[in-house]
C-alpha cells in the first residue's frame, strides 16, 4: 500500500480537482466560497449566456432552473438534501454558440448559511434521461 504523508486535507485536493462533476460550496445566497475546475468549466458558459458574472452560482442556476431559489427557501430544516440528482434541460444561446445539454443537479444544505452544490452535464451518458424526472 502506498503511503501519502501529506495532511488529510491536502490529500483530498486531487480528488476535488479531478472530479468529473462540478462541486461548489456557496453561502445561503449562492455566492461561491469554494469551487472545483469542472464546476467553473460548466457554469461559465451558462453565466455568459445569461449575461451574469458567474460569481453567484444560484443566480446562474436560476437562469436555467427558475424554481431553484423557491425550492431552497421552502426547505426548512437546518441541513439535508434539497435536490438530489434531478435532471434539467439547459437550452441557452451564447456568443460562443448554443448550449444544449441535460444538467444533473444535487443541492445539500449543510448549515443555514452554507450549501453544497454538485452538478454535471449528463447528456452523453449512455442511459437516456428519465422523462418522469425531467422539468420543463
Amino acid at each position: 500500500m502506498l503511503t501519502d504523508t501529506n495532511p488529510p486535507q491536502q490529500r483530498l485536493l486531487p480528488l476535488f480537482h479531478h472530479a468529473p462533476m462540478g462541486m461548489a460550496e456557496t453561502d445561503a445566497q449562492g455566492a461561491i466560497l469554494q469551487v472545483n475546475p469542472k464546476a467553473v468549466q460548466l457554469m461559465m458558459p451558462m453565466a455568459a449566456g445569461l449575461g451574469l458574472p458567474g460569481d453567484n452560482l444560484l443566480d446562474t442556476l436560476a437562469g436555467v432552473v427558475p424554481s431553484i431559489r423557491q425550492t431552497i427557501a421552502d426547505f426548512e430544516p437546518d441541513s439535508g438534501l434539497i435536490i438530489e440528482q434531478e435532471l434539467y434541460p439547459v437550452r441557452l444561446a451564447t456568443g460562443a454558440g448554443p448550449l444544449d445539454f441535460y444538467l444533473s443537479l444535487t443541492i445539500e444544505k449543510v448549515s443555514p448559511g452554507s450549501l453544497l452544490i454538485f452538478f454535471s452535464d449528463v447528456t452523453s451518458l449512455p442511459t437516456r434521461p428519465d422523462p418522469f424526472r425531467q422539468h420543463p
Binding site: 485536493l13 476535488f16 461561491i32 469554494q34 469551487v35 472545483n36 475546475p37 469542472k38 464546476a39 467553473v40 468549466q41 460548466l42 461559465m44 458558459p45 455568459a48 458574472p53 458567474g54 460569481d55 451564447t94 460562443a96 454558440g97 448550449l99
Partner: protein, 125 residues
C-alpha cells in the same frame, strides 16, 4: 519599448513573439505560451505563483485538459480552433479551491508558431 506594456495593448502579440520563455516573466500580467495544438511551451512565474503549478510541471502538458480544465469549454478553449484570435473576456479561474475573477485575453495569429493565454488579475476586484 518606451511605453510600459499593457494587457490590452494592440501590439502585445508582437511583444510576446520576440520574448524568450524567461523574458515573458517581465509582462505585467500572466502569460501562458502554447504550441498551436495546445501544449504549454512557457508558463510565466506570475502565473506559477498564483496557481502553485511550477513551469517545469506545466511545460509539455496540454493546457486546457491538464493544467486549466476550468477553461476547457466553448468560451475559452474552443476559441483556439479559429485560425486568428484576439478576444478579451471576464472569467473565473480556480486557484486551489478559490474562485478568482480575472480578465482573459486569448491570442492567436496565423503567422505565429504559438498561441497565448493572458491573465489579468488587476482588472477586477
Amino acid at each position: 519599448m518606451n511605453q510600459p506594456l499593457t494587457f490590452s495593448d494592440l501590439t502585445v502579440l508582437d511583444w510576446l513573439e520576440v520574448r524568450t520563455a524567461e523574458q515573458l516573466d517581465d509582462a505585467p500580467f500572466g502569460v501562458v505560451r502554447m504550441s498551436r495544438d495546445g501544449k504549454v511551451v512557457a508558463y510565466c512565474k506570475s502565473e506559477s505563483h498564483f496557481t502553485g503549478i511550477s513551469p517545469d510541471y506545466a511545460v509539455g502538458k496540454y493546457y486546457f485538459s491538464q493544467i486549466a480544465p476550468c477553461a476547457n469549454n466553448v468560451m475559452v478553449a474552443a476559441k483556439y480552433a479559429q485560425p486568428e484570435l484576439d478576444e478579451e473576456l471576464d472569467y473565473i479561474l480556480t486557484y486551489v479551491c478559490d474562485p478568482v475573477k480575472v480578465r482573459l485575453r486569448l491570442l492567436k495569429s496565423p503567422g505565429s508558431r504559438y498561441q497565448y493565454f493572458l491573465v489579468n488579475r488587476k482588472h477586477i476586484d
